[in-house]
Amino acid sequence: MTSFNLFSGLRPLLRNRAVIVGLVILAVVLLAAILAPLLAPHAPNKLSIVNKLQPPSAVHLFGTDEFGRDILSRAMYAGRISLLVSLGVVALSTVLGVILGVAAGFFPRLDTPISRLLDAMMSFPDILLAIALVAALGPSLPTVIIALGITYAPRLARIVRGSTLVLREMPYIEAALTLGLPLWRVLTRHLLLNLASPILVQATFVFASAMLAEASLSFLGVGVSTDMPTWGTMLASGREYINNAPWLMVFPGLAIVFSVLSLQLLGDGLRDLVDPRLSKER
């Protein structure tokens, strides 16, 4: 019943042209990544030295890399890892952020210690914190997710704390308290339900940031190290050939740009939808 409400609440989004564009791009990227095993024209790791550094052609739409691997296929498979990492980051940072944010916003006694901790965490520039964490934990897929998840958690926590502070004073939350509803019920049903929109907006932006950060980490050589490529590692290894085979850089780069762009468009549309409700509806 409430999810229906959330859904119908999102319907005006579909009247926003920018959001439509964002959704379409995101859908294409997601489908290409999820269905990569079905759609990819070539095996992503199939070597073919004779075909190395081929420019884009009918057989290899995006060209081939230094080992003759098909870039389109690799980019599709790379999308799986990149999206998986980003989604993991969003999930982790949202869980951490909501717990910390609600605790700080709803319980005045916890506010100072948690806020100070968040201040301290936010004083590490995001990439740097992630790099240090990866350096400490060793580069691997879960490590990168944990590192970036911790890095972005304060952003969500701040938003959640701020919204909680506002909502806490709302008469309907006070009414829920005076009606003698159990605290967990007030928190989940009344508070979290109304926090859903700002969280969703911020999570979309964290998704975009995580995608960029993952690419940066891979580019620096401290990212996910698997036998499967990510967009970042494709760029890092393509760098050497930028002069004579620029397509190695162009297509994975565009994949990142379009994915991030689609998320930003979506996030902006969501925020425009959510903000007036939260601030202007008195």
Binding site: P125, I127, A135, G138
Partner: protein, 316 residues
């Protein structure tokens, strides 16, 4: 007046608390390494004797709490420890690489602000116009581009093809200062463009916010011209959030420098961090994190003080 000083001291205390937590977090981060950091650093072909020696050198044999005490005591003396791989103290290592990073950050923030403020204001005033739509689109795209990718493209176009600027490096100590700075043009533009997108979007949003406020209507009802309404009445009020985002960008630029310096082969702090990470040079990682975080805390403090100047309602 007395109250102001007390409030100021309270702010300083708060800053000290945050710095203390920062230092503790740094200490924890570097020590969450699974397994023996000494073994990890030396790689798989190290002998047990080498490892033991390194453990001794890093002080890893003492109990954790003693290590923490030594670490904190060192910090109070201004001692960040010694690099394992460089024949330098961490402090020296950071200082000797500060120049390119400092100027890179300075130039990028200048570029970003000079573009962002006028464009953001105009875009807000002309909300919905063709200009505004172009600004919204371009900033959105610019914010979606990985900075290292943009850097590589700029190198390709302006260094390799056109040959206007050096592609990488910073020159040695003998290179004339201005010539050294020429190496910073492309990296500064790279960082500046990405950040100006952020600041533009923020300025636009902040201006749109205040342009709907009651006192803006009052100014119009007074017969003030549109430029006076926008530049005097609205902009002064939008300044607090704009100062915040510029302060934040400075800190983000330091992080951005990590990637950009690698792309452009600049021997700056970012480069030092990356090579330290790749070599697991923990004292350097630790020191760099601390210094950067401390700079951020300081910038935040300055931003807070600027609020007081920008908005008479804000008290320290």
């Amino acid at each position: 007046m007395n109250r102001v000083i007390r409030a100021f001291l309270r702010r300083l205390m708060g800053m000290a608390v945050v710095l203390l937590i920062v230092a503790t977090l740094v200490f924890i981060i570097v020590r969450v390494t699974p397994g023996d950091p000494a073994a990890v650093m030396l790689g798989s072909d190290a002998t047990p004797e080498d490892i033991a020696q390194l453990r001794e050198k890093m002080g890893l044999n003492a109990p954790l709490i003693v290590q923490y005490g030594q670490f904190m005591a060192g910090l109070l003396r201004g001692d960040l420890g010694r690099s394992i791989f460089l024949d330098q103290s961490v402090g020296q290592a950071l200082l000797s690489r500060a120049e390119p990073t400092f100027f890179l950050t300075l130039f990028s923030i200048l570029i970003a602000t000079v573009i962002a403020l006028p464009v953001g204001i105009l875009s807000a005033v002309r909300r919905g116009s063709g200009f505004d739509q172009v600004v919204v689109t371009v900033t959105m795209v610019a914010a979606s581009v990985p900075s290292f990718w943009l850097g590589l493209i700029l190198i390709q176009v302006f260094a390799v093809q056109l040959g206007w600027f050096p592609a990488s490096g910073y020159g040695g100590p003998d290179t004339p200062f201005l010539y050294r700075l020429a190496h910073l043009v492309l990296p500064a533009v790279t960082l500046g463009v990405v950040n100006s997108a952020l600041i533009t979007r923020f300025t636009r949003a902040a201006m749109l916010d205040v342009l709907g406020d009651d006192y803006v209507r009052t100014a119009r009802a007074k017969g003030a011209s549109e430029s006076r309404v926008v530049l005097k009445h609205a902009f002064r009020n939008a300044m607090v959030p704009i100062i915040t985002v510029i302060g934040l960008s400075v800190a983000m630029l330091v992080a951005g420098a990590v990637v950009t310096e690698t792309v452009f082969g600049l021997p700056g702090v970012g480069n030092l961090v990356v090579s330290a990470v790749l070599r697991r040079d923990y004292p350097v990682i630790q020191g760099a994190l601390l210094v950067v975080a401390a700079i951020y805390v300081l910038i935040n403090f300055i931003v807070d003080m600027l609020y007081v100047a920008a908005d008479p309602r804000v008290r320290i």
